[in-house]
Symmetry: D5
Subunit: 160 residues, 10 copies
């Protein structure tokens, strides 16, 4: 409840942006429909981080989709969290897994998946995808099935 | 039958629009093919509501798809119902679940799903999806399967 | 054989168009490959009928797909049949089910499905979908499975 | 200068939304490059107003493009201004001309054009376009030329 | 003024559709901005008529764009007028020119153009385009220029 | 008049297809609007001919657009004429110019242009374009202008 | 080995095209990876044949996809084979099944499917699809499953 | 010449990225074809800067197009220059004009234009465009003409 | 670890490109998340090799997707490896299988798949697809299932 | 004439590919329609060259469009000529100008333009465009006009 109040506050006030990796900005609020399994997807086409080797900016669209249990992620705090990668250096694959794990820690969701589609570097682009189902629930099996069926139809890429 | 007459009347006469949440405007009529399982999908690209915190208008396309049992929703009343969110403040996720529950109450359908695709705020967009299968029928299992398979191929988002 | 001759005749001669619902114009011919299960799909983007309440014209693209048993539908007669809805008033949902049932009666197919995608009225469009598998064959189960998997990825609708 | 300060304030604070037509919310700030002719275009895909006859909501994307003279329109105030049409009833054509005239009054620009692309009602959509060049400058002639060349390639419309 | 009242009436009441060519249904109302030259475009993707020889239905999207002088065409009456071609037989080219002439007669506009894009028959589609500028005004010259520049970039056609 | 009757006949009867180049199949009929300059465009995505050297089939979409004077080309005869290239060998560039000249001979039009977009051979595709304006009329100048402005925005080609 | 040599020869020399149905031109070569199950798909957007009744040309894109056993089809011979339908008259459905059977005879593949997507005639297009799995292998079951899942998302058709 | 050597060095070595506005990183090299007027366009879809008021990241695609005189901009230095806006706060309009002026200072080009297409904030996006022709040359007039003709066909924006 | 260092070195230094097939350039580094099954996909739209018979260049987009076990492929070394096919002659099918096998040898992954989509030659394009699951793990079964479900919706090909 | 014979020979025989810049492979043949001004456009999506500094392969689509005078370029020789850049190192801008000049030398055309659209390196792509009109003819002026009007609507670039 207190957390929810915080969210309301965040959504209606001026924001301080952090440009160094900072999972503490993530906030959650209570799920009003814990009896219902449903998906919430965030489309975030403005993700940017730095290559840890060359320091060159990288750009991606992230698709974050989850089935809440008791908590939902507050959308503005999620945006602040993703902005905190702006001047942070990490590999594409690690960014995706780290984001998923931070959200698991925050939300303890029934299910979550994170798909990053990065802009190409040198003519090659990389798209990591990770997912997770809560152990001991049917979502553990669903996570395995979704991974097994992942991306049978890769998006056509022509670089233009 | 009486309800059906009411629908005909609605479809051919001038309409009074309500801009405050009002599930009472929903009307149904009899399914002439209760022996056949079939889908009816409504594409409604003009959904708009208000953010409960900032009072800012939000916009979405809703995809409502259901398998009728004894009743169908009258399309004009559905439109009026959706218009009634225009000046109503609620979170994206709640709007979707509330719409699904109002239609379950009205129609007692074999199956129903509601998918909202909202326009971005601050570079991030949110797409909630909920579904429901009538307990004790095969549609209960189908609902679980459809949720488990939901959105394996997220729509490409570039914000332009 | 006689029916087939009739088809040939239809395809090569001038046509009389009927604009009132008329299932009698439907013609079939013999399937030369009854040992093989295969699909035949008709894309018919020129379907038009009348709203039974307002008398306003409605427009749709129909996708009719079936697995023949002993008979195939003659394509020109199918076109004439669909044209016969031009000045006929009926609801979207009924049009789709009626077309499916008329083709079942004509062809006794192993499987058939009909999907109508109607143009919007008042900002909302409706897409009914019905299917059928021959009872007592594996296509009965397939029909249930296809219905259960129907339209997990609704076509994006923006109204422009 | 004082006006500019106000803009900064608006952009960083919580907003009060008005849903009745209100041109007073429009704010401007000083053009730092009055020696340079350049275009600024606003893409606003979330315009909504009411039909003055049926009270039904209408939806449009507006493209507002202008060449500033001494002033620029503050973007957040423009958004508030457009939101103020939300519960206001007016015809499509009048909305477009009124918006153009309000901006001329605010900015006294060298050139301005407003193009509205409305969602269809009953299968027909309407796209009004108006423009204006400051009398006595070369932009008066340019406005006439741009009107004469307007929309030689209409956007393809299929309603789906 | 009286004409305007009639329009309001049309827009808010039930409609009688005519399916035989009937230019009398066209209605106009007063232009509130006769001092301003602006375009109004109607996108009508639901035009259908009959081939005068084969009686086969034809389908088209019409783009009607004009610069009003003293009058605007009332949109619902335009829709009724276009519906009146539904069971009327005429060649593609004649339909387009007749529609343009009927609107010139109704509106006496400064400028008007009508572009029809018909669905293919036998693998070939036909797109007639006609325009008109009021004699003795600069729009007479503009009409000639627009015709001279017409369709330098034909829409890509693949028939699927 | 007699020619017009022949057209009507062609359109409603069975056709004999010729697959060797045969300009004699082209037919015209009278233009009912010789007082009006307007465009008629034919989209013909099914053109095929043979390479004169390798005998390999070539495929193209042709865009034929003209401003009639006293005559229009009958659409079915145009289709037959284009089919007559099916087993005829000629270079891409010559096909386009020959088609234009045959239509000039038939129609004596005010203006005509023919644009062929051929499918690639060996990763390279060729798109010839020719046009013509009647000497001594303003269309002679317009033809030169249209050629000078031709294809400033080449269609994006990726071969997939 | 000898067969392979023949392929090399075909690929590097001038070709004699046949325009009458001729399955003898089909050639195969040895699969170097018989231990691996993999798909090879041919996209052939230039298929054309004749309607057996009207003699009118028909056009299609064929998608041929198979899992080789001991043999692969030589690509140039496949092209020659498909060209041999150019002046051959047969119904759409038969063309597809015949092509599949000829390739089964040539290759004895583990699996094969052929999907034809024909251009419309009279506003209606037809898309036959047939497949086959080698009896007694797991591909027999896979063929049934693929047929059962065939085309749940029909390609959007607008005819333009 | 020395400058050119520096470029070669830049292109083949590891890079130091600057994230504060820094026009000094821009480098040029000699145009080998000063006798020929030609365009060079840079597509840079990864531009990002900060809002000077809220400190929120902004994202844009920049299209920079110029006609060189004696110098060309070295592409890697241009990329570094654009990266230097990453943590720099400025308004959209100013970014575009500043970039144009920095490049004019570096290159003294015959002509240059810069078009920024920014991602939306709060549902509204802004696209500034500025251009420049060298005074006393024909490119001064061309710049005025290009500005007068700018963006007659605004890109369709739906925010999804 | 040593290998990882090598990768870092590769990513930040000038590169020596090899244009003859050279699997030795492939480098791997340690997977930091071996407890998590996740996909990594490489989109490489710039693959080119030579036809072994005609010596003609071939072009393709490759989609390489795998689930790592202990190792990940270093992206720059993958790019160098793919460039090494530039002057190497091999058939489409063999290229795809060889690339998959080289990566299996390098990475010993849980799962891998390689899909090549080649540009057309003579109007026909070829798309080979191969996959592999580690024997004795659930990925062996998943590989079979993914192959069985491969490409039920072939990409639409029009050659333009 | 002799030249024309050589072309025929080239088109029907096996080819020797050169991968070092070699303008001597270019061949021409006589224009049969020197009395007619018409455009011929080559779409060549498979251009590849090397970066002269890093030796990295670059990829582009070239659009070559010209108005012939007495000669046409033989298409297969053009393809061979473009392939000869495969292992040749040069900057993007120089490639485009050199290709234009080689074709001017070969053909002495009335008009020619070459537009290269290169795939991105490091997130930035470059599109050079050069053109030429024969001095002393109206095409000299047209070339200037086309350059002045070049690319007012840059292709949307998102890198995915
Ligand atoms: Ca891309
Ligand atoms: Ca978007
Ligand atoms: Ca739509
Ligand atoms: Ca202000
Ligand atoms: Ca639409
Ligand atoms: Ca009226
Ligand atoms: Ca089409
Ligand atoms: Ca005639
Ligand atoms: Ca292509
Ligand atoms: Ca062989
Ligand atoms: Ca189509
Ligand atoms: Ca330099
Ligand atoms: Ca957008
Ligand atoms: Ca293609
Ligand atoms: Ca020659
Ligand atoms: Ca791109």
């Amino acid at each position: 409840m207190a957390q929810h109040d915080l969210d309301l506050q965040l959504l209606g006030q001026k924001t301080n942006y952090h440009f160094e990796y900072n999972p503490d900005v993530l906030e959650s609020f209570d799920n009003r429909h814990p009896d219902t399994d449903y998906f919430v997807k965030f489309n975030t086409p403005e993700f940017t981080s730095l290559c840890p080797i060359t320091n060159q900016p990288d750009f991606a669209t992230l698709y974050i989709s989850y089935v809440p249990d008791q908590k939902l992620v507050e959308s503005k705090s999620l945006k602040l969290y993703l902005f905190s990668f702006r001047n942070h250096g990490d590999f594409h694959e690690n960014c995706i897994v780290v984001i998923m794990k931070d959200l698991i820690k925050l939300l303890d969701p029934k299910y979550i998946e994170v798909w990053g589609k990065f802009l190409p570097r040198g003519g090659v682009s990389i798209d990591p995808y990770a997912n997770f189902g809560k152990p001991g629930t049917r979502w553990e099996t669903i996570a395995e099935q979704r991974l097994a069926q992942h991306d049978l139809y890769p998006e056509t890429i022509t670089n233009r």
